[in-house]
Symmetry: C2
């Protein structure tokens, strides 16, 4: 039998389909499968590069009773912007769970990873954000810092944004990119000011030193930390995890070797009784924020179930597969 | 900057280029890089499927000072032949080591994995086969069992082949597929007869029970074991490894968790002083077979350096990349 050639989807086709999908409930299904032992998700594969500095992650697995197993390769090469290239790159592959035959190559150039990451952040906000959001702090000015604002309207009416970045140039460029939006964007070079102003904070940088300190966090604040997805990266002082009333991880298994929770565990700042896996929070929202005084933290390292769900949803929208 | 779309190479184009390559020295370079600490090769990623039974391996890495990092996905779904499909499937991906940008998708349907595996077997024979090869025993009747005969002529003039298989039907089909070749193919349903007749044996099955026993192996025999690439598969009684004068592994690191050497180590049958990594044997052929009395074993679990070398060589033959 001759193999049918796999579909090769360019980014333009992928973004077209993406606009038609209801992403938040879709990605929630992936986290539910993970926390219900219906997903096979081996440890993340990792390749590091020194010159120029870069990293590639391979996330892969399958959800029982779905058609595909999915392999996603996503990289970050931080010198790329100097060459006019996005730092994040990558693609997704979908194979039959029945035969191993390659069914589709999604040439998303890292875009689907960016989107599913932003959506996971929105999911954490659904269950953990305080009801009285005054101002939303965005730490960082890169792709994720921008994508948050694309989806925030789906989970909160708040339009007040304060952004912090490493250089005045990047902060101004970030603000300028939203000049035609309905967000009120203020800027700061002081993390302390941001933490003092905002009771919802989203951190999006590849920092290897904590940016937010425990003493800066006010009661009632929720923080979603997106940036750290390795053992080396960290944006939050571990004492923030210690102080938090609720700590949510997208994958408790992955948090044993990467992310803020990994770091907090190393620093003996994690109380396992406060730790909830995101899929279990979705299953039982009563486990989430109780009042406007609690401090809550969600740590996202990115899980293959997100890639599986988004790739599968795109392919389910095609007729010729 | 708009990304240049990656090249997508169909199998027909890949096989065309493959015919022009001198594969044995090419793959040898990969093993040399591995054993010289010039290759970054993380642990193999693995996905297992129960219904139908299947497995997928992800092998990936890069060689310093080469243009690409390579990710290879290869699967075995053993019910596929009933559907008229090859059990082995897969593809290779080449990304820039400088930017992470995807440069090429090699839609080889598992063929490059099959070829680089057969070539590694030939490399072991160059250094370990006895000089007086009387007859070559092939254990198994599948893809690898056939591919050995495609390349054996590059390392030995011997044309006497004895093949063993699980069913008379498969053995006869194997023999029939070479009816127009210059090989003299005899068949057997007795492993003992095969071991008694042949002083060069290549095992190619996914068996989970040892097929060859220590008592069957005559002095002067070389065995290359290709089939086992997981912790569960095994074709050789561990006492064969114990009895052998020289034991060669394509990757000593991988042999700690997969293949015949893994099994022998578990069974306390491995003398580490006899163990040589294939790249070191290539570097110093004097470490190989000394005479026609020694028993030698090579255990191949398949290493990403093989995939990196074969994918890179194919891309180096293209002008438009």
């Amino acid at each position: 039998m001759t193999l049918k050639a796999p579909l090769v989807l360019p980014l333009s086709q992928i973004t077209g389909i993406l606009e038609t999908l209801n992403l938040i409930p879709l990605i929630e299904q992936g986290f539910l499968a993970l926390s219900s032992n219906k997903a096979i998700v081996p440890p993340v594969g990792e390749l590091l590069f020194d010159n120029p500095r870069g990293e590639a992650h391979i996330k892969y697995g399958y959800i029982l009773n779905q058609p595909y197993y999915v392999v996603k390769i996503a990289s970050g090469f931080y010198e790329n912007p100097k060459l006019g290239l996005k730092s994040s790159q990558g693609l997704m592959l979908a194979f039959s769970q029945q035969t191993g035959v390659l069914k589709a190559v999604l040439l998303d150039e890292g875009y689907l990873t960016d989107i599913r990451t932003a959506i996971a952040s929105m999911i954490t906000l659904r269950y953990l954000a305080p009801k009285n959001i005054k101002s939303i702090g965005i730490v960082g000015t890169g792709i994720q810092a921008k994508l948050q604002l694309k989806y925030l309207k789906e989970v909160t009416p708040c339009k007040n944004i304060m952004v912090w970045g490493r250089t005045a140039e990047k902060i101004e460029a970030y603000k300028a990119s939203f000049k035609n939006s309905d967000y009120n964007i203020s800027i700061t070079s002081s993390i302390k000011e941001l933490a003092n102003t905002c009771n919802l904070i989203i951190t999006t940088t590849p920092s290897k030193e904590p940016l937010l300190q425990e003493s800066q966090i006010k009661k009632g604040t929720h923080i979603t930390a997106i940036g750290s997805d390795t053992s080396e990266k960290t944006e939050l002082d571990s004492n923030i995890i210690k102080k938090a009333d609720i700590v949510v991880s997208d994958s408790i298994e992955q948090s044993k070797s990467r992310g803020e929770i990994y770091r907090a565990r190393q620093d003996d700042c994690l109380n396992p009784n406060k730790l909830i896996e995101l899929g279990n929070l979705i299953k039982n929202p009563a486990l989430g924020r109780q009042n406007n005084q609690q401090i809550t933290v969600a740590d996202l390292t990115g899980v293959a179930v997100q890639d599986i769900m988004i790739a599968t949803a795109i392919l389910n929208n095609l007729k010729n597969i």
